[in-house]
Amino acid sequence: MSTVRTGYVRPLDVKRGLVDMSHGSGGRAMAQLIDELFLAAFDNEWLREMNDQARVPMPAGRLVIATDSHVVSPLFFPGGDIGCLSVHGTINDVAMAGAKPLYLTSGFILEEGYPLADLKRIVESMAAAAREAGVPIVTGDTKVVEQGKGDGVFINTTGVGVVLEGVDVSGAHARPGDAILVSGTLGDHGVAIMSLRENLTFETTIQSDTASLHTLVAAMVEAVPGIRTLRDPTRGGLATTLNEIARQSKAGMTIREAAIPVRPEVSAACEFLGLDPLYVANEGKLVAICAPEDAARLLAAMRAHPQGRDSAIIGEVVADANHFVQMETGFGGRRMVDWLAGEQLPRIC
């Protein structure tokens, strides 16, 4: 990042201005955008150094790195926007190793013609989310693509964190007999987003659950350091996450439909859209797996945290050579909870 001498450029016209190709050219316009928008919002000692990289101190422990690209549509939705989502998503990916997230980087891909006012809202939401989480954005990058070659704003964030020795959390560690827990109601984010899709539009009071979960994870790891698996059920929802873990751990799972928390508004929206809440995305929930003897302690620790008030034990890991996830239905029967096939499509009849 280069410095801009103040005084000889007019300030960015955030109110009426649009992103244009010069904002990604490496020239003065780009430097100005960075200074007045990104630096002003994200401000911290590393960013202020204006280097192309950040040199940061690392505490002891193993390094954890995660990256996530955010392409959500629409960019603003009930309960959040792409900015805070891009912070929460990556912090959560780092945290799901049982780690403490320390730093974030951000890469913006902007589409020519995108209003600077909206970009400012996104950047400020991102900054607020990072501040609230206590995880600074220490370096970044901005590119501009021609109109029609992007969807307004894409944001990639990479997170760096550290995990203490002795904590060994992985999707491959689930064992038969282990308990499966979730940290709250499922499907809120996906339904909030779908309510705004152009060909759907229905009115709902449901808000996205987008949130950083690292303080919840810290409380869980403190209560049960031997926690086996943590994962946030984002795209593909709980069903996909459980199938991924089953495959990694070479085990099966049995869950109980009646124990899975779903808001009535979410199940109603899913009902008329022909969707299954188990496959709908979450951005502020996690799945945890632990030894059966630790389950009660872990559940208590989760429920004691504001983000885990509705936590529940929903089932257990079982031995199964096919790695099937099965569910005891509320109706009294049994069925598989399979991988999602294609996109979740509504039924017609």
């Binding site: 099965q326 009294g332 029967g333 049994r334 069925r335 509504p346 009849c349």
Partner: protein, 375 residues
């Protein structure tokens, strides 16, 4: 969820299950065909099978609108989108049905055809209004349930004077399909498909009423119980069918009385009669050409009929030889009897249409029930 959870109540289900187990004669079997994909889906999704005694066997029927759509009709639609550069609008599941040459509507879309998923026929009409310079074709599929909305948009298009909107009509009729199954040699003569009764359609019957089924009960001596799509509806209907069989009755009974009357929805039926007329015959996947089993637009609405507006030669394309969808739709075979089930044919790479829709027998069994066949 009020008015939904009540029909999925596990405690009530146990009560009905106990009555079925108690009343079903263990020395015989009961084969009931659930005509509708909606029932197939409910049975699989809620694990209804686990609540039935071994003597009660459910046979899946052909009532999945996506499943019965033959390859040729999808090919015709794809050609329309590519050759005429029309905006083709259709319901979601139709997008994935395999067509000729490894195509599907979804793959044609990826190749550049303008194919859009809509939630209702009126969405297609809106797209036509928003794109006056383009031809917009609604690929209409489904049984009697989805026909009235199509009729309505044709009327609306006429009232609006929309010159760029038309319907590629593939609406089919339930009673014709049931007769066809009952007349099939497998059921009539060979006895390879044993059917002791039908779980009758739910949503279709809200439109046509229960009266059209009287013929089957009388002529073929098969009990019919019209049932809703909730799992308790299905359980209750099975109990009613067991009772009819035990008592030697063959009547039309209505379990779905909260929505279905004897005469159905008079307004919807009048609307359909105003716009549509019977086709002499129509090709169904699995059933072949079935006489008087489908609808087309009447001459006075010809301007809105894509088949008359564009040059669309009728096409008939045989199914993949390895695919057993035909036999499965007729109840002759089960999904696991098909050699490609779960191997070459999966929901990700469907070869046959029964693997496409969640209401299809193969997709339902693969997605919800295949653990039952696991070693």
């Amino acid at each position: 969820m009020k008015y939904v959870d009540e029909f999925r109540d596990g405690e009530l289900a146990k009560g009905i299950a106990a009555r079925i187990a108690n009343e079903a004669d263990p020395s015989r079997t009961y084969h009931f065909m659930e005509f509708c994909g909606g029932h197939t889906h409910a049975i699989s999704r809620y694990g209804v099978k686990d609540l039935l005694p071994a003597s009660v066997v459910m046979v899946h029927g052909p009532g999945c609108p996506v499943c019965v759509l033959p390859i040729g009709r999808i090919d015709m639609a794809i050609e329309l989108a590519i050759r005429e550069k029309a905006i083709l609008c259709t319901y979601a599941d139709t997008m994935r049905v395999p067509a000729s040459g490894g195509l599907s509507l979804m793959k044609a879309k990826a190749k550049g055809a303008d194919i859009r998923m809509v939630y209702s026929a009126s969405d297609a009409l809106r797209i036509a209004q928003e794109n006056p310079g383009r031809e917009v074709v609604f690929l209409a599929i489904g049984f009697e349930t989805t026909t009235p909305p199509t009729a309505l948009v044709v009327k609306q298009a006429a009232a609006l004077g929309l010159a760029n909107f038309s319907v590629f009509c593939n609406h089919v009729l339930t009673p014709a399909a049931i007769s066809h199954i009952l007349e099939s040699p497998e059921v009539r003569e060979l006895g390879t498909v044993k059917i002791d009764g039908f779980v009758g359609p739910a949503h279709v019957s809200t439109i046509i009423g229960s009266q059209p089924y009287d013929y089957f009960a009388e002529e073929y001596a098969k009990p019919v119980v019209i049932a809703g799509f909730e799992p308790l509806d299905v359980m209750q209907a099975i109990l009613m069918l067991v009772r009819q069989v035990n008592e030697g009755r063959a009547e039309v009974e209505n379990e779905f009385s909260r929505a279905v009357t004897a005469d159905g929805n008079a307004k919807a039926k009048a609307l359909v009669a105003e716009i549509f007329e019977l086709r002499r015959a129509f090709e169904w996947r699995g059933l072949g050409r079935v006489p008087y089993s489908a609808l087309r637009l009447k001459d006075e609405w010809a301007a809105f009929d894509a088949e008359r507006r564009f040059d669309m030669p009728e096409r008939s394309v045989p199914d993949n030889k390895a695919c057993e969808c035909g036999a499965i739709l007729r109840g002759v075979k089960k999904p696991v009897d098909c050699k490609v089930f779960g191997t070459a044919c999966t929901p990700e790479t469907p070869m046959g249409s029964c693997m496409v829709s969640s209401e299809g027998a193969c997709a339902a069994h693969y997605t919800y029930g295949r653990f039952r066949n696991a070693a």
